[in-house]
Symmetry: C2
Subunit: 150 residues, 2 copies
């Protein structure tokens, strides 16, 4: 772990350090990515988890509009650019060992590509998995696809 | 994505499928791991993110006591086995594409090895990072180390 983070482990509340020192201590994985958890800032609902590279993180902090790295598309993914369902950043936090981000966001409409508010809708209960929510909106409408299309 | 999960995208609330089908569709990464977000079930506070392999996930679902895979130690990590600060599972959920878990837990005391309730205590704000919480307990006490020891 970077010494910067180790040095902060015992730090008192409201201790401040220059942002650049922390950004330099962020531990991206071998692919240059860090997981980012998005949580609705007021309800506390965990909406999704996606990945950021350094550019996505810096853009998010600068613009206040959440930008991830799409591993499937291999490019920056400004959340909502296809669906219109943007995420606006309230607070970003780094964890103790610098390898995970928590984003408090204001999510417009559904966060999930299925049209559900949250991506975490498959509850593992006893001997069964149960779907705990329904789409708020048909994803074909969300992504402007012909009805019934792929 | 496994067809099982694709087939559930439009499923109505309370649709049930056998747990085994979902567990077979979980997408572990190249190292056989999946990220698991731990959230305090009642307050909504996101406490930490750690990793599970299949064995850790199955043990957690069976025993109700959260078990991760420690990447640094290369072994199963029953949360609280050193610190006494256990996590008891309320609900586990899988996300839409099967590559992230959300655990609703009852966390005893601090979740973080620094003695803080949550691992996400470094807020990235404007030009500075700010420590937003203090240890609830000295980690030397938590881990029964000689005071001032490493």
């Amino acid at each position: 772990m970077a010494d910067t983070l180790k040095d902060l482990e015992g730090a008192q509340q409201d201790t401040r350090v220059p942002l650049g020192e922390i950004l330099a201590a962020v531990r991206f994985n071998g692919d240059g990515l860090i997981p980012a958890i998005a949580q609705q800032h007021d309800s506390g609902e965990v909406l999704m988890m996606a990945w950021m590279n350094r550019e996505a993180l810096e853009e998010t902090l600068t613009t206040g509009r959440v930008c991830y790295w799409s591993r499937s598309r291999g490019k920056l993914w400004r959340k909502g650019e296809s669906s219109g369902q943007q995420q606006h950043l309230r607070t970003a936090s780094l964890d103790c060992d610098g390898d995970t981000l928590l984003l408090q966001v204001e999510q417009t409409g559904p966060a999930c590509h299925t049209g559900r508010r949250s991506c975490f809708y498959i509850a593992l209960e006893g001997n069964a998995a149960r779907i705990v929510s329904e789409p708020l909106i048909d994803p074909d409408i969300l992504y402007h696809r012909p009805s019934g299309g792929a």
